[in-house]
């Protein structure tokens, strides 16, 4: 007998009552997820195709599209709290995909004190939000978008470029000066230490974008225009000859014990692809869960997983997009392979239960929490803890 199944809650919804059927959303969606049903004269969202970039949300002239992530009202609320905290009237909105750490972002814009706002794709920021922020007393807005061909959602960065030009013209007429909103673009890419290269060719084989070429030992070179910053080559280089801007091996290595020291047992450290999980603003997942963001699950290194376990993590999770949702060329599938590989070795010493891989999508809010909960339950069942001399 079939049970009635509750429709899973999804991250984006079209409100038919407000929708004027203008089809702007459908024309801007990079994934053809929104189409017009001519028969019923409604706009239909295919949530399975939706990648939750938020471009439709920011573009809808009728405000008929709702999103549970970073809506304009939640961003205004965030600003209200953040302004006194950061003691600044300068707002810097950055896309996670291309933003270095906050200090690096400040350097890019030549500012020291600012209110940081990190979002997955600046394409989700609407014109009226920017105007509202200025009307609220913010003196300056800086926007860091991805280089246009680096944009994970293809259209988010170009669209933001057009918006900023149009808004600046408007603002100039209103007496705000010629550049009330500044836009910069950036990409985070691979870096190479040729002295360490052993000419094994791993990067040449694994790179989905044919960025590296290898001619001899130390003869490795990367076409940085082709590099999309997934970090897969970095994670798989047997000689530690590669690194990735902002996701340097050492930076992640330093973060691991730091985070674990602040957590309460049972400690679960989650390495998550920044496109698989959109955390709430200022949100954390409680005292037992620590999260480290990755540019793509492909950046996960066995080395870091083991480091986490050695630093006292009771469980380590790697959270990725599904192969089909991967913003890179199916790199998440390779990440799963890397995790399975090290899990097999951990199994040999009885610690395999401590490692878990899950694929989730931000289109289903709460999915990651559910996966973490399941993993936590499974850890309760697992017996061995790491204590010195336990078996003696």
């Amino acid at each position: 007998m079939s049970q009635p199944v509750a429709e899973p809650k999804v991250a984006v919804n079209i409100n038919e009552d407000y929708c004027s059927r203008c089809t702007i959303c459908g024309s801007l969606c990079p994934y053809d997820a929104i189409t017009k049903d001519h028969e019923n004269n409604i706009m239909v969202l295919d949530i399975e195709k939706c990648q939750v970039c938020g471009i439709c949300y920011s573009a809808c002239p009728a405000k008929a599209i709702d999103t549970i992530y970073y809506s304009s009202s939640s961003l205004m609320k965030y600003l209200e709290k953040a302004r006194p905290r950061y003691k600044s009237d300068n707002l810097v909105i950055m896309c996670k995909g291309s933003a270095p750490d906050f200090a690096g972002v400040g350097k890019l814009f030549g500012v020291k004190d600012f209110i940081p706002l990190s979002v997955p794709c600046v394409g989700r920021i609407s014109e009226d939000l920017l105007l509202g922020v200025l009307a609220d007393g913010i003196k300056k807005i800086d926007i860091l978008a991805c280089d246009e061909d680096y944009c994970r959602f293809h259209r988010g960065s170009p669209l933001t470029g057009r918006r900023v030009i149009a808004l600046n013209r408007l603002l100039e007429q209103l007496g705000y000066g010629p550049e009330a909103i500044t836009l910069k673009r950036n990409s985070l890419k691979v870096t190479v230490d040729k002295d360490l290269c052993i000419a094994c060719g791993n990067c040449v084989f694994y790179c989905p974008y044919n960025a590296p070429t290898l001619t001899s030992a130390g003869g490795i070179s990367f076409d940085l225009d082709a590099c999309r910053g997934c970090g897969l080559c970095v994670a798989l280089c047997p000689a530690f000859a590669l690194d990735l801007d902002n996701w340097e091996r050492d930076r992640i290595s330093n973060l691991i014990p730091q985070m674990l020291a602040e957590m309460k047992p049972p400690k679960i450290l989650v390495f998550r692809c920044q496109w698989a999980v959109y955390p709430p603003l200022n949100g954390d997942m409680g005292p037992n869960i620590g999260t480290i963001e990755l540019p793509c699950a492909g950046r996960i290194e066995a080395f870091h997983i083991l480091e986490a376990i050695q630093s006292g993590a009771d469980g380590v999770m790697v959270v990725a997009c599904s192969e089909d949702d991967c913003k890179q060329e199916k790199v998440s599938a390779k990440a799963e392979h890397v995790v399975a590989n090290i899990k097999a070795k951990l199994d040999q010493i009885g610690l395999g239960d401590k490692l878990n891989f899950a694929s989730v999508s931000p289109r289903y809010p709460g999915q990651v929490e559910e996966k973490v909960r399941e993993f936590r339950q499974s850890l309760k069942g697992a017996k061995k803890g790491i204590k010195k001399g336990e078996d003696k």
Partner: protein, 213 residues
């Protein structure tokens, strides 16, 4: 390159158990997958964890040698550690530990790898294939670049034996018949006359045990 597989961790652990201070030495040379510094560090982490579970605290150092089969490179890479370690755990093929054994007569050396064969790494298929037996008397010129000594189950120098069915070997239905591959390849190259050329019994002593370059 030399294709190797990591030994079961239990076996490695048992072999290193009598020692506390151990140098894990990777090899950047031809081991495939590469067993360089990353592999050495990962193994260090795994063995530390495994040791803790058994109440044993190891003190590992890690390094990687450009080519562990080269005496000069190996000696210069290992020497700085000799005073500090009780044993070397080698990630190289079988030649690596033997290089260490030869030039460090008082230092125990243990293999972390099983050496499988000299092989082709087919990246697309994600598999590696045995392809050279180092017989010392190469006949690939006659066999279209496909080695029957290695790839024919019977090692026939003049094939095919007639036992294959559907291109697979009668001894192992998973395995391609090397002589059928040779025939197809020679046909493609327009060199089928080569298959009629008789190859006399091989002088395996040519493989030898020592070569002076």
């Amino acid at each position: 390159m030399i294709v190797t597989t990591l030994k079961p961790l239990d076996e490695i652990l048992e072999s290193i158990f009598p020692y506390r201070k151990i140098l894990i030495a990777g090899c950047d040379g031809c081991t495939q997958p590469p067993r360089g510094i990353r592999e050495a560090k990962t193994l260090k982490q795994l063995l530390e964890l495994a040791g803790q579970l058994k109440g044993k605290e190891f003190e590992f150092k890690v390094t990687s040698v450009v080519k562990q089969c080269d005496s000069v490179l190996t000696v210069s890479a290992i020497k700085p550690y000799v005073e500090d370690v009780e044993a070397v755990l080698s990630l190289a093929c079988g030649a690596g530990p033997q290089t260490v054994a030869k030039f460090f007569p008082d230092l125990p050396v243990l293999p972390a790898q099983n050496s499988n064969f000299i092989g082709i790494d087919d990246r697309q298929e994600g598999q590696m294939f045995d392809s050279c037996s180092a017989c010392g008397d190469c006949i690939l010129a006659l066999t279209g670049g496909i080695c029957p000594v290695t790839r024919c189950s019977k090692g026939l120098l003049n094939g095919a034996c007639g036992g294959a069915s559907n291109g697979k070997c009668e001894l192992d239905p998973e395995r391609d018949c090397a002589w059928e591959l040779i025939y197809e390849r020679l046909r493609r190259l327009g060199k089928l006359d080569l298959i009629k050329k008789f190859t006399p019994a091989k002088d395996y002593s040519a493989s030898g045990w020592m070569v002076t370059p």
